[in-house]
């Protein structure tokens, strides 16, 4: 099976679609149908446009801190395509493409980075948790979701994403170990994008791969070319099937690259060379996926141009709505969600503050 063949301790990395869009592992080609492939591409494209535009809005002083995703679209969309709608995503904070694929409206994602809690007001039916800033804790959360799924016989798999830096955190080990000990259906996807802010992957751990950490949990681990969307789909599908069948967790390491800054507060030119970035620019995931679709006859320049126009208009529209209608915080909102019902102390504080504002205070 896949996990035996691609053993990270033997230096094996799963790759199906190479950088020139050649299928290099024909037996593993998932042969996804046209509709699915185009949906994957369209979400990647939307994520790319939304990402680039968020940075523009930020530079114009209209958006606040933003964590760019460019370069990691295949890792995320390939993995999400292997989930069923009833499965769960427990993300970190750089998962715009994944969240879009799961059906979270761009409006939510923009609203979050605009600095408003309503961005995290996600329809619970989507089984997709909001942005999680505390590094690694989403692994524990997903372990619990997976455990509940098992006990309540829901048949759902929980997939948590984490960065290479996050694998240094205790939470990563605690959650995977816990889930493993009860065969909870958990899949952990490491987005190894090579940099945790300024700290390179090699400074996080002496382990040669992050996938090999699976060995200590007694679970399968696999290293995947994270810029190869077909490999990401195949590895995640195998992991999800394995977990759903009651065999316990799987650890996937997607080898990818953060082409942008950590966040808009970060200046990557301090710690990495332009030459390194250029190498990864050439390997970025949209190039090969687009060519793959073109080779299949599913996509052409005219469709690309039309999609570009459509997504640019859509993203502008969404941001305009965030900026003009949804973005401003309401005073009541910062109080009234603290508990199911406002406590007397909170009511008193809110009234006193409203009174202060009404008398011209600020």
């Amino acid at each position: 099976m896949l996990f035996k063949k691609y053993d990270p301790q033997k230096g094996q990395m799963l790759k199906i679609l190479d950088e020139k869009a050649n299928i290099v592992a024909k037996d593993l080609d998932p042969k996804l149908d046209k509709e699915t492939l185009l949906r994957m591409y369209e979400v990647m494209h939307l994520a790319r446009v939304a990402d680039i535009k968020a940075l523009q809005f930020q530079r114009q002083g209209r958006m606040l801190t933003f964590a760019p995703n460019r370069g990691q679209e295949a890792t995320q969309v390939g993995a999400m395509a292997a989930l069923e709608p009833k499965d769960w995503l427990s993300p970190a904070f750089r998962e715009l493409p994944a969240m879009l694929y799961r059906g979270v409206p761009l409006e939510n994602i923009y609203l979050y980075w605009y600095g408003n809690e309503w961005g995290s007001h996600i329809d619970p039916a989507l089984h997709t948790l909001p942005v999680n800033i505390i590094i690694g804790s989403q692994i524990n959360h997903a372990a619990g979701i997976a455990y509940a799924s098992k006990i309540l016989k829901k048949g759902e798999v929980a997939l948590a994403t984490i960065g290479d830096g996050g694998t240094s955190h205790g939470f990563f080990y605690e959650g995977l170990n816990f889930a493993g000990s009860y065969d909870a259906p958990l899949v952990v996807l490491i987005q190894n994008n090579q940099w945790a802010i300024s700290t390179p992957r090699k400074k996080q751990t002496k382990a040669v791969t992050l996938a090999q950490k699976a060995v200590a949990f007694g679970i399968p681990g696999i290293q995947v070319d994270g810029n190869d969307i077909l490999a990401m789909y195949v590895a995640t599908k195998a992991a999800v099937d394995h977990a759903r069948a009651g065999n316990g967790p799987v650890l996937i390491e997607a080898v990818t690259y953060r082409l942008g800054a950590h966040t808009t507060s970060d200046d990557p030119t301090i710690y990495r060379s332009n030459d390194e970035v250029a190498i990864w620019e050439a390997k970025e995931p949209m190039i090969r996926f687009k060519k793959y679709l073109e080779d299949l006859g599913y996509w052409d320049d005219a469709q690309e141009a039309a999609l570009e126009v459509k997504h640019n208009e859509y993203v502008n529209e969404v941001f305009k709505k965030v900026e003009t209608e949804l973005g401003a915080a309401k005073l009541e909102d910062v109080f009234k969600y603290t508990y199911a019902e406002m406590t007397p102390a909170l009511e008193e504080q809110l009234e006193a503050y409203k009174d202060f504002l009404a008398k011209g205070g600020k």
């Binding site: 801190t65 505390i134 830096g165 955190h169 802010i197 996080q204 710690y271 915080a329 102390a345 205070g361």
Partner: protein
């Protein structure tokens, strides 16, 4: 004398102490090569080498717990927690071991170390990047908790922290890292831990603030220019242990007391200081001791944070209410 900001004053203190004391090591997430996300430790790795100034994996428990071990075995660690809200993932090591070891071992072991944490709001950051920790950390026996409000104090307090026999948490008000510059002596000097500073003398009301709130209180005092109120402003400088002598002496003179704190209201540091005044200066009071604090809510994201944070207007309003009670 060089005119520098608070961030540069911390960098200077670390630089001089690294040169002065070979036991000192400085580390944290991104604290080495790039000099920290705020650049507080910029240039130090280049000057003192990677053995002494270094990046850690992302793991706050390992940062604090290994600082504890380093301290036990001959080093003097200066560990950085990147943002206030990240302390919680490492707090077991701080509360369960660092703070208690002297007591647990009846003095056989002690763990002098400095834990630096940028704290507080006002920079429109993400969630977990704007927390005020003074009330929580002030509750832990065995820890000293210090917070500067000026570049001069930052350098002097940090040097004292590095010479203290006990673990010191050094809270750096991030919103004033670069807010103002001040003349700071080139040579090393110390500001004693546990001593508050009377920033401005006055006779009508004592206002105690610390960290970034000192500046907000100074703005509030300016708003009161035409109100004929004489404010005595005290910068607490050390959250724990409290300099009760300076506070009580002041309240005995002014007869009124106000505390300004960005942390949430209930069970907070402000409540503690009010209790202290109640215990030691009750009969001198002419109006109820008061506090201006954050509300009892989660720090809102950037678009709503202004509802929570203490404004000069809220402070001046509270001063007026106390004086005109």
């Amino acid at each position: 004398m060089a005119v520098i900001n608070l961030l540069e004053a911390i960098n200077q203190a670390l630089d001089q102490k690294l040169a002065d004391d070979s036991r000192i090591v400085v580390f944290g997430e991104d604290a080495g090569f790039e000099g920290g996300v705020f650049r507080v430790t910029a240039g130090l790795q280049k000057k003192y080498g990677e053995d002494r100034v270094f990046d850690t994996p992302i793991a706050e428990a390992a940062i604090i717990g290994s600082a504890f071990g380093m301290s036990l075995n001959g080093l003097l660690p200066v560990a950085e927690i990147q943002f206030d809200g990240f302390i919680f993932t490492g707090i077991a090591e701080l509360v369960s071991h660092v703070a208690r070891y002297r007591n647990r071992t009846r003095g056989a072991f002690s763990v002098p170390l400095v834990l630096r944490i940028p704290v507080g709001g006002g920079i429109k950051a993400l969630e977990h990047h704007s927390e005020s920790l003074e009330s929580l950390l002030g509750q832990i026996p065995g820890l000293k908790v210090v917070t500067p409000s000026t570049p001069y104090d930052a350098k002097g307090l940090l040097i004292s922290a590095l010479e203290d026999p006990d673990p010191v948490v050094f809270l750096e008000p991030k919103r004033i890292y670069r807010a103002g510059k001040q003349e700071v002596p080139e040579e090393m000097y110390r500001i004693p831990i546990g001593k508050a500073k009377v920033v401005q003398e006055g006779k009508d009301i004592t206002v105690v603030a610390w960290g970034a709130m000192v500046r907000e209180t100074e703005k509030a005092i300016k708003l009161l220019e035409n109100d004929n109120i004489s404010v005595e402003l005290i910068d607490l400088r050390t959250i724990s242990p409290i300099d009760s002598e300076t506070i009580i002496k002041s309240v005995q003179k002014t007869g009124r007391f106000l505390v300004v704190s960005e942390a949430v209201k209930t069970y907070g540091a402000a409540a503690e200081l009010i209790a202290l005044v109640n215990e030691k200066a009750f009969l001198h009071l002419e109006s109820p001791s008061a506090r201006v604090t954050g509300h009892d809510i989660t720090v809102p994201l950037a678009r709503g944070e202004h509802f929570h944070f203490v404004s000069p207007e809220r402070i001046s309003d509270a001063i007026k209410k106390s004086v005109r009670f």
